[in-house]
């Protein structure tokens, strides 16, 4: 992998709600290198999207507020930039694909216009240049008869095609980092396979780094180099992709993997389920946030929140218990 692109340290994001301040991200640190794909996994409400949105300062404020941390992108702190500067980064050097292709395109604007917008804004292209580039981009993501389809509106595209258009828009300004927020969750498996395949191909051709947010451990296994698992606004496990699946350590990771039915397994076994649901943290937790749902929980888990510690090279886990043998 190449050079360090984005380095996030101790990021904290809070949301003010009528019920109190929700601690959505609690001191998250991670980095991504050139050409690398980082998978971010966790259930809804575990802080994975908020972490990435915070880096791009896309958190609605109020109620959201980034209270601490830094996000160094090529020597500059994204969190300290002026509004003008960050606008140049967004959609230009760092771009994003959102989950729902049905709602993230403007329904009353044709595809050509929506594609030209970032090109004219970030790349200073003329209308004609932008049109040409849009056709190239649509061809790149595999939309047949791209030239004719620029005049079409989003409703004339299928779900998979719309997600392709979203990816084309995100790629249009040659970003160094592409953040994909559950880009395939709303799609059928066959279309999902097409999109994953497309993104992998584009990554290899264009050499950008990808942050792939998802709750599907299957998709991550297929595309990521490195994976971080989030829970309650913390990273609770982070490792190389092969390591994570062959040697998962955190009880939450074990639970997520256990709750998936295995496709190449004939025996009928009861699915492992993690009882309860993710917490909403109204204050910084003093205990491990996973303790209430954990099967391995010990006395210590209720008293101290475990820090993220290295267990083997490149594999970090935040847990007091060694789940391989149950010792503390």
């Amino acid at each position: 992998m190449g050079e360090l692109l984005l380095n996030v340290r101790d990021l904290e994001t809070h949301f003010k709600t009528p019920d109190g301040t929700v601690h959505a991200v609690n001191g998250v640190s991670f980095h991504i290198k050139e050409g690398e794909t980082l998978g971010v996994v966790g259930e809804s409400g575990c802080g994975k999207s908020v972490t990435m949105l915070s880096c791009l300062r896309l958190i609605p404020s109020p109620p959201g507020k980034i209270v601490a941390g830094e996000a160094i992108f090529r020597g500059q702190d994204l969190l300290k930039m002026s509004a003008e500067e960050i606008r140049h980064v967004r959609g230009g050097q760092i771009s994003m694909v959102f989950q729902d292709p049905m709602t993230s395109l403007n329904p009353v604007m044709n595809i050509g216009k929506q594609m030209a917008e970032p090109l004219m804004l970030h790349m200073n292209m003329t209308k004609e240049q932008a049109r040409k580039r849009s056709v190239e981009l649509l061809e790149l993501v595999g939309i047949p008869k791209a030239g004719e389809r620029l005049k079409d509106y989003p409703h004339q595209y299928s779900g998979g095609m719309r997600q392709r258009v979203m990816i084309a828009i995100a790629l249009s300004c040659n970003p160094q980092i592409l953040i994909a927020d559950e880009p395939t969750t709303a799609l059928d498996v066959t279309i999902q396979a097409q999109i994953v395949d497309l993104v992998k191909r584009l990554r290899d051709e264009l050499g950008m780094a990808i942050i792939w947010i998802t709750h599907d451990l299957g998709v991550v296994a297929n595309i990521a180099h490195r994976v971080m698992v989030m829970y309650g606004g913390y990273i609770i496990e982070e490792s190389d992709v092969n390591d994570l699946y062959s040697d998962p350590r955190h009880p939450y990771t074990l639970g997520l993997l256990g709750s998936l039915p295995k496709i190449h397994e004939e025996m009928h076994r009861k699915l492992f389920s993690i009882e309860g649901m993710p917490p909403i943290l109204y204050q910084k937790p003093r205990s491990c946030p996973f303790a209430p749902r954990c099967n391995w929980v010990t006395e210590r888990c209720w008293q101290e929140n475990p820090p993220l510690e290295t267990v083997t090279e490149g594999h970090r886990v935040a847990c007091w218990v060694d789940t391989r043998n149950g010792s503390k």
């Binding site: 279309i191 991550v220 297929n222 709750s259 496709i263």
Partner: protein
């Protein structure tokens, strides 16, 4: 009518076409071929999985079996009764036997009704219970789906997705049905919550001897819960067999592609396996392709596939498929 006494639901050449109207005088200009002649049966106590992409007609099949749509043609037998021929009032009484669990736990519960009213409504509608009895029944139903009965005066928005789905299950169970259509009951839920709901459905099936038609697009979950699995494409069945057989020995090219598209949580296995990536999208059901409907995306399609509709046949004992190439 049925020779096999174990068969609970028998579907015979079911067709469901939705008309398309256009213009000021609402002239009919075409039909959506949502379901185009499917035949199968579901045995007592069995779970039949039904998979396919969105828009292939799997939900329509489920709803047409329950007579929520009046089928264009074909028959649906519940035990010995032909549901299609029943008068509305008789059909209403039959509905206690067959219920449905919906996909979206956010949209399928009335936000202005309390849990007690939601779960108790079927009891009231059929005059099964009144007053105090309803409270008792609701409490025992909530207990059955592992929700705290003390929550019965709460509203749906106070519950998480998984809990709401449990409320939906409790409502479906209120009248002691024998057959339940589960229309993508877990698609809207998180992975760990999906496992909770699937485990609950399996336990209930054993306890209450329920028969399920389990509709989903997630093949790995379908394999887990089903005894037999049917694969649907553009309004027709392309393959139907026992679940392990389907995954071990898929015959139809569409089934093979679907199976290979499943993301597997195992990076080493992913490296090794051969993936078939289908080109393009599902064609429009208004104007389905001639001959075999899958031919436009099929990697092994031939001239015969465009000319002749492949016959639905028993290729091996208990293993049905419709393809010229098998």
């Amino acid at each position: 009518m049925t020779a096999d006494n174990n068969v609970l639901i028998k579907v015979d050449n079911l067709v469901m076409h939705f008309p398309i109207y256009r213009g000021v005088i609402r002239r009919q200009v075409g039909v959506v071929h949502a379901v185009d002649g499917v035949s199968f049966d579901i045995k007592q106590g069995e779970t039949l999985g039904l998979v396919g992409e969105s828009g292939c007609g799997k939900s329509t099949t489920g709803r047409t079996i329950l007579q929520l749509y009046k089928p264009t043609s074909g028959n649906v037998y519940f035990k010995d009764t032909n549901l299609v021929k029943l008068r509305p009032e008789r059909m209403r009484m039959m509905r206690r036997e067959m219920q449905m669990i919906f996909q979206d736990p956010y949209a399928s519960l009335n936000p202005r009704m309390t849990v007690r009213d939601i779960v108790g409504e079927p009891l009231m509608a059929f005059g099964e219970a009144s007053g105090k009895q309803i409270d008792e029944r609701v409490a025992s139903l909530l207990d059955l789906v592992k929700l705290n009965p003390d929550f019965s005066s709460r509203y749906p928005h106070e519950f998480s997705g998984g809990q709401r789905q449990r409320i939906g299950v409790a409502r479906a169970l209120a009248l002691n049905p024998s057959f339940i259509v589960c229309d993508e009951p877990i698609s809207a839920l998180d992975v760990s919550i999906q496992a909770q709901v699937v485990n609950l459905l399996e336990e209930l099936q054993q306890e209450l001897n329920l028969t399920y038609l389990f509709i989903a697009h997630d093949l790995s979950m379908v394999r887990h819960i089903s005894n037999r699995v049917a694969v649907m494409y553009l309004g027709i069945f392309v393959e139907l067999t026992e679940r392990n057989e389907l995954y071990r020995n898929p015959l139809h090219p569409y089934t093979q592609a679907l199976l290979s598209a499943i993301p597997v949580a195992d990076p080493v296995y992913n490296e090794q396996r051969r993936r078939i990536i289908l080109e393009g999208d599902v064609p429009s059901p208004v104007n389905p392709p001639s001959g075999c409907r899958f031919r436009t995306r099929c990697p092994i399609a031939d001239t015969i596939c465009a000319e002749k509709t492949p016959e639905w046949r028993e290729v091996e004992p208990g293993h049905f498929a419709a393809c010229h190439k098998i």
